[in-house]
Amino acid sequence: MANNTFPEDWRDQPCFLVSIPRPLVPYAGGLLKLLEMRGFWATEGDYQRGYTAVTELEECLMATCLNVLLEQNDALYRLLNTALLGVAYTTVSEDPLVVTPAIAPHVNLDIHDQDSLMGRMDRLTQLVDNSINGTEVPLYDYSPSVKALLQSVIDAVTALEGDNSDLLAELEVIAGLLA
């Protein structure tokens, strides 16, 4: 009979992550069977603690830990993809976790929702291009543009009688700032 002990504070002690090649998992897990035996441990208390720890380890070898890590990794990917580009995900089932659409091998810069971070930046860009420069954009069609209106004002002031050179100079400065 072996005389192995197992500490009472084992749950408070640090854990280590070990990477095991998939084909080795059945053998690594099977070898741990020895530690499930009462005869391996010195006392009933050691047996209960040791058995609990080793079966938790066996449980983690393939299923739990890797799944949790992968799911958290996938969740982070989806968080970024939704926040940045507005891709909408749906949870089809919780256990096992199935989320659609599946994570693609790569992404492009297509904006799926204008309320995403990139979508809001795109809206701002289109708004500036359209309202100030008069550029044709999908989301806005302000007309005339600020620059066109300013040019109209400059033309009108130029046509007025009298010395308006100071006012025209100020308007030209504004037009230059918008260029």
């Binding site: 059945p26 897990g29 099977g30 079966t55 066996e58 299923a63 739990t64 096992p96």
Partner: protein
């Protein structure tokens, strides 16, 4: 069918730690308590005859199946699906091993394909329900409430 006798094993140990067994038989119509009392009485009578100390007592009821059917072609008994049933957080798991696991109960896709047991498989779910409803416990008499993991292990 249940065989007519149950096997009683008295486990003895000498000073070197080596163990040996005295085997007796009792009628299988007797209850576990009755056979256990018989075994304890037999052991106490044997003590004056041996320098060993009694370190264990086992009672085994045996069933035999007739006619014996041959298994169909399939995976070998070394391919063991081990299922982990939990009584709850911080409790020890109950481990149930199924030899010659069918490929159909294994996960088909992803990193665990061919190794992990598909816990959503209908046959696996039916077995898990039967285990949980049947009051199966871990070695410390804590009854399991959920199937939490399963994969192939080399346990034979």
């Amino acid at each position: 069918m249940l065989q007519g006798t149950a096997i009683v094993e008295l486990v003895w140990q000498d000073a070197s730690g080596s163990q040996a067994v005295t085997q007796l038989r009792a009628l299988s119509s007797s209850t576990v308590e009755e056979i256990d009392a018989f075994a304890s009485a037999a052991a106490s009578i044997l003590v004056p005859l041996t320098d060993c100390v009694l370190v264990g007592q086992r009672i085994r009821y045996k069933s035999a199946f007739e006619p014996v059917t041959l298994p169909a072609d399939g995976s070998p008994i070394t391919k063991v699906a081990v299922l982990f049933f939990s009584p709850g957080v911080d409790f020890a798991d109950a481990v149930i091993a199924i030899p010659a696991a069918k490929d159909s109960i294994l996960v088909a896709d992803g990193p665990t394909a061919g190794y992990a047991v598909d816990l959503t498989n209908s046959d696996v779910e039916a077995f898990a329900s039967a285990v949980i409803d049947g009051g199966v416990s871990n070695p410390f008499a804590e009854v399991v409430t959920a199937l939490v993991a399963g994969y192939l292990q080399s346990r034979v």
